[in-house]
């Protein structure tokens, strides 16, 4: 059969299929896209129930071998030991949106009681989480949330407002209350990053910050080299840039490293969210005055307790319930089953050496 | 005087084929020793053993009376033995100069290559050979003749004491041949020994002192050239009278089946025109590199052509499409059996049916043993000797491999059969079978085009002989006109239109 005929026929078939499918097809919004099975807090909470011993608690970070999560999960480990559970950490070696799914499946296969996870993608792991919950597991998300209907509780490191306030305050005093600033973020769709950036813009509307202007938002994709290049780009594109805010540990470290080696050192202020270990050097050499971060270990710690409480029936994840979290004390569950760790800690010359994470 | 290099009843076999049986040969310093024999007589194997590419299964090689066992071509070269191959393999990306000196480039300080010296060396060599090639051009795109010259230059650069030339002049113009001979003679005066393998008896007689004839992998005779006549030599080569060897019976040619008109491929061949009638065998003679294979490749659609056209039974053939050629009833038994004729790793059955997969399938599906039956039938018709149909075709002897190639094409029932070097490297017995087969096919009304470097074969088989030289047809000779001389004349372009 000749090429032409072949192609013609092919086209014909396609055309028909298109025609058929085009009419009366499923279009956006024409159907409910949430999982009916994805249910909210169920059953009755018994605040006085003791924490069950021997719970299997599994931590599933965005990516194993990521220092931040290693610390966070470490906190979780100590918590699990406190309430005599069995801790383990599993996870993919690269942070792909879907790479967590097979691990969740595995965990529910293993009849794990509590899954504490930080979602690479708010949707990708929803299905798996729900089937895990149907199989009896309690799901706690921390650091980055999934859709609310896919987990029991979300332990938020800090409220967006908290971060925004803190970051704007820091940069404002470092640049003396006026001038152009830029933001070096992680990836353009990192849920929390975008939320924070929005809230920072809100903050800057306040009269005392009227002279400060965000001229650009750059994305370093949480990669050293990319963040490096983006920082260069910012400084070059905006000659009279006064300061950079990088609310992500990788970004702020890369930016600091670039500044400390460049002519801009000391001239351009830098703050953001970073770990003391990464930033210590730059705080000491004066590249960075002060930066902030919650304590990841505490975050993991709290998440572990939340999970245990769920599994023991102390809480169900409903708003208003109280949660006793070991050394951290008592927390109250907010709407959508969100628990907030608390305001970030600020690190500077004075206190940085007291921290090691 | 004791021979410089000596073979003592050397034997060598490759799987099914016993290439050499008890061959002895001696080269003396200062002599040019001719080694003649038909293709497949074992010349190349002798050359390869001397050159260190093969090691003999039995017998020994002596250099200066000392037994030696060359581990590799490099080893042989280090012993002062150099070989010039008929179809050299070179490094297309590297310069001519580097091709000559690869692995032994002249070194300057700190062991780094001294390009100036290297270039000068090459220039001197080319001067001596009277070649005008830019040492710095890449080898890619060199004509066979130029590649030969580069190989010769390489051999010279080795200052070899024993120089082995396998058909070195096959692609050279007579001027170049003369120049080469001058060099060879000079070398001999310097005390080198040269083994000269060639089909061109006229050259052999003008250049060599002694001549060894081989046949079917055995030694036949060695005599001073002075005591020999061409006829004697030819008779020894073929082992019987030429006339009886090639039984082409005359058939009354039918209508024209294949017409080739003004076929041109720039820089390869130009303005090729001929036609073949049903029942006719047309020989396409000429030297290696004259463009014969290129012409038939273009006719069959392997290569594109820049001008002209090909007609089968009056219908114009789509250019550059083998499948179209097959559909039109053309079959090509290619020159290089191992590379082009067969898929060595595949079974005999698969190879034999490769050209007829569609007809053998039902509802688009193969199976039901139809392939096996067809393969068995055709291998039987051609008397292919094999163990199991499932054996890799590579395990067969050259002759049987060639039969498989023929089988897969005859199975398609072609109207035009083009055979390129149909009997290269196969034993006398099979050779005769092939020739009988070809003439029977002609008798059945198939139009046959036969490209062959073996003059006796062409002269014996062909009703008409077309002779090519450097991409042009320089003569068309009827059966009676065609003789060794007339063909060679036209083939070496010594007189345009020798006919």
């Amino acid at each position: 059969m000749s090429q032409l005929k072949r192609t013609l026929r092919l086209g014909l078939i396609t055309a028909t299929v298109l025609a058929v499918s085009a009419c009366g097809g499923t279009t956006r919004g024409s159907e409910e896209n949430t999982n009916p099975a994805g249910n909210q807090a169920t059953g009755q909470a018994d605040p006085d129930a003791p924490l069950t011993e021997g719970l299997d608690v599994a931590f599933l970070p965005k990516q194993v071998n990521n220092p931040y999560f290693t610390v966070a999960d470490g906190g979780g480990k100590s918590a699990v030991e406190e309430f005599k559970g069995n801790y383990k950490e599993v996870g993919p070696s690269e942070a792909g949106a879907s790479s967590q799914v097979s691990y969740i499946n595995t965990l529910s296969q293993q009849q794990t009681d509590v899954i504490v996870t930080s979602a690479n993608d708010p949707n990708a792991i929803c299905g798996a989480l729900n089937s895990a919950r149907q199989a009896g597991a309690k799901v706690v998300t921390f650091d980055s949330d999934t859709k609310p209907e896919c987990r029991d509780v979300f332990v938020n490191q800090v409220t967006g407002e908290g971060i925004a306030e803190n970051q704007v305050e820091l940069i404002a005093e470092q640049i003396g209350g006026e001038g152009e600033i830029a933001i070096l973020s992680a990836t353009p769709n990192a849920t929390n990053q975008n939320a924070w950036i929005e809230l920072m813009r809100e903050q800057l509307k306040k009269p005392e910050y009227s002279k400060i202007e965000i001229v650009a938002v750059a994305y370093g994709n949480d990669e050293d080299q990319k963040s490096f290049q983006e920082t260069q780009g910012l400084l070059r594109s905006y000659p009279d840039l006064k300061g950079i805010v990088s609310p992500t540990t990788v970004g702020v470290a890369a930016a600091a490293r670039y500044l400390s080696g460049s002519e801009y050192k000391g001239k351009v202020a830098l703050t953001g969210l970073g770990t003391p270990n990464q930033m210590r050097e730059f705080v000491k050499d004066g590249t960075v005055e002060a930066f902030a971060l919650w304590n990841p270990a505490d975050l993991g710690y709290l998440a572990a307790y939340a999970g245990a409480a769920l599994a023991s029936g102390q809480i169900t994840g409903a708003q208003g319930e109280k949660l006793e979290a070991g050394k951290l004390g008592e927390y109250t569950i907010g709407e959508d089953g969100v628990i907030v760790l608390g305001p970030p800690a600020v690190f500077d010359q004075a206190n940085i050496d007291q921290f090691d994470f | 005087m004791s021979p410089l290099l000596q073979l003592r009843d050397v034997s060598k076999s490759f799987q099914a084929v016993r290439a050499l049986r008890g061959v002895s040969l001696s080269l003396h310093a200062g002599e040019v020793h001719a080694l003649v024999g038909e293709n497949g007589a074992g010349k190349s194997t002798v050359v390869r053993i001397i050159g260190g590419e093969h090691r003999p299964d039995a017998g020994e090689v002596l250099l200066d009376g000392e037994p030696v066992r060359f581990s590799s071509p490099r080893d042989a070269r280090q012993h002062g033995v150099a070989v010039i191959h008929q179809e050299p393999v070179q490094f297309p990306d590297l310069s001519v100069a580097e091709n000559i000196f690869m692995g032994r480039q002249p070194l300057g300080r700190f062991g780094r290559i001294d390009r100036a010296v290297m270039r000068a060396e090459v220039a001197r060599l080319f001067e001596r050979l009277g070649v005008r090639l830019d040492p710095d051009r890449p080898a890619r795109g060199l004509s066979i003749a130029d590649q030969q010259l580069v190989e010769i230059a390489k051999a010279l650069s080795l200052r070899a004491r024993v120089l082995v030339m396998d058909e070195p002049t096959a692609a050279l113009s007579s001027v170049e041949v003369e120049r080469l001979f001058a060099v060879v003679r000079a070398l001999c005066e310097e005390g080198a020994a040269v083994l000269f393998g060639s089909h061109r008896l006229d050259e052999v007689f003008s250049l060599c002192q002694r001549l060894t004839v081989m046949r079917d992998g055995t030694w036949v005779s060695t005599d001073p050239v002075a005591d020999l006549s061409v006829d004697q030599v030819v008779r020894r080569m073929v082992g019987r009278d030429v006339s009886t060897l090639f039984p082409k019976q005359d058939v009354e040619p039918g209508d024209v089946v294949l017409e080739v008109d003004g076929l041109t491929r720039d820089g390869v061949f130009s303005d090729i025109a001929f036609s073949v009638r049903a029942g006719e065998i047309v020989g396409l003679a000429g030297l290696v590199g004259a463009g014969r294979s290129e012409v038939v490749r273009a006719v069959f659609g392997i290569d594109r052509y820049d001008a002209g056209e090909v007609r089968v039974a009056g219908k114009r053939l789509v250019a550059g499409s083998p499948s179209a050629a097959v559909a039109a009833g053309i079959a090509l038994v290619p020159e290089d059996r191992r590379q082009q004729g067969l898929v060595m790793e595949m079974s005999i059955e698969r190879n034999a049916t490769l050209t007829r997969l569609k007809p053998l399938s039902r509802l688009g599906l193969l199976g039901g043993g139809r392939e096996r039956r067809s393969a068995r039938e055709w291998t039987k018709r051609l008397q292919v000797k094999y163990g199991r149909l499932a054996d890799a075709v590579g395990t067969l002897s050259g002759g049987n491999q060639q039969k498989v190639v023929l089988a897969k094409w005859l199975a398609t029932g072609p109207r035009v059969l083009i055979v390129d070097e149909p009997t290269r490297g196969i034993d006398i017995g099979t050779k005769a079978e092939v020739h009988r087969l070809l003439s029977r096919l002609a008798a059945d009304g198939v139009a046959v085009v036969m490209v062959s470097s073996e003059l006796p074969e062409v002269l014996g088989m062909a009703d008409r002989v077309l002779v090519m030289h450097e991409g042009r047809i320089t003569a068309e000779l009827s059966r009676d006109e065609a003789t060794e001389e007339t063909v060679m004349f036209a083939a070496t372009g010594q007189k345009e239109a020798a006919a």
Partner: protein, 344 residues
């Protein structure tokens, strides 16, 4: 002498022998894989808690479906001696476009058709470079590997489109009669049968082996090498597009970085399945077994709480072993056979 049938049994020179041994080894390769796979399943079933359950079986299949799908056309491509490294990027680009089209409000049925079509087009681009311009497929598809993934990000940035109807996303992981066999796996098996028949029982498939072993000889036999390869690359693209649809729906999220790096897993599976990277050898069954073996091993080790790092080492090791072992065996046998022929 040459015609003497007995002569056929004389050992062949190295090259042929190697091939011979390799082939005979490969005839057994599928069987070997089957045995190993069975062994893995049994051992894991006994030692690893939770492995031998319908649900886990379902998870396992769901995990390998995408790889299996893409491996089908890739097998044919590798058998012809070419390679397509752009498959995962094609998947990603298709997923991204699928997201955008859905957002644009097109009916999902139409979107699916368009996306698969897009995949075919992307494959055709590879095909044109490889067959028309006669460029090495390795270089070409490394190029499109980067290009397609880049375009995927251009199309969708780092956004994720996630609001696909539940009915569809659920279907992607739903099982036949709510048993252990996902529908996706059924589709894959059907396609596998189609590709298997094409490869092993049609003139087209037969010609693929020929051109893989010796393209020149295939051309001289009147086989349209370029055309065959062209359609294979198109098929590869289309199937990758289909895999993109599956991936997007299964994870309910269209993203540019979907399946990044999956090409390595697929190539690994194909080679483990006994397909020669040089072309001319391999069976579709072998490849499917290879896919399952890799999947089963990973799944079992995961259940046994083996860290992801070790999984990678195992994958790499399996891949290397799958090519080194047959070679070494072949070479040693060759040596054994040749020794007597050198009374030196």
């Amino acid at each position: 002498m040459a015609g003497d049938p007995a002569a056929v049994n004389v050992p062949a020179p190295p090259t042929e022998t190697t091939h011979g041994v390799l082939r005979s080894a490969l005839v057994r390769w599928d069987t070997a894989l089957l045995v190993v796979l069975a062994a893995v399943v049994v051992v894991a079933g006994v030692l690893v808690e939770g492995f031998a359950s319908g649900r886990n079986f379902q998870f396992l299949l769901l995990d390998v479906v995408a790889i299996a799908l893409i491996a089908l056309p890739l097998t044919l491509i590798v058998i012809t001696g070419e390679i397509d490294l752009s498959v995962a990027s094609t998947l990603g680009l298709c997923s991204a476009v699928m997201g955008q089209l859905w957002v644009a409000g097109l009916p999902l049925e139409l979107v699916v058709v368009l996306v698969v079509g897009l995949g075919a087009v992307l494959g055709a681009v590879n095909a044109v470079f490889v067959t028309k311009f006669a460029l090495p497929s390795l270089a070409v598809t490394i190029g499109t590997l980067a290009a397609y993934r880049g375009l995927a990000f251009v199309v969708l940035g780092d956004q994720a489109v996630a609001d696909f109807p539940f009915r569809w996303t659920d279907a992607a992981s739903s099982t036949v009669a709510d048993g252990a066999v996902p529908w996706a796996a059924v589709v894959t098996i059907v396609l596998a049968v189609v590709f298997g028949v094409v490869l092993h029982a049609t003139p087209f498939g037969r010609s693929l082996y020929a051109m893989g072993n010796n393209a020149e000889a295939a051309t001289f036999a009147g086989i349209r090498v370029a055309r065959a390869k062209f359609w294979l690359f198109v098929a590869s693209g289309a199937v990758s597009g289909l895999a993109g649809v599956y991936w997007t729906l299964r994870f309910a999220s269209a993203r540019a970085d979907n399946a990044a790096g999956l090409e390595l897993a697929v190539v690994a599976a194909v080679l483990l399945g006994g397909v020669s990277i040089f072309g001319g050898r391999g069976t579709l069954l072998g490849v499917l077994l290879g896919v399952l073996l890799l999947g089963a091993v990973r799944n079992a080790l995961q259940l046994a709480d083996v860290a992801a790092d070790t999984l990678n080492i195992v994958t790499g090791g399996l891949l290397i072993a799958s090519v080194v072992v047959p070679n070494v065996v072949a070479m040693s046998r060759t040596r054994l056979r040749r020794r007597p022929r050198h009374p030196a």
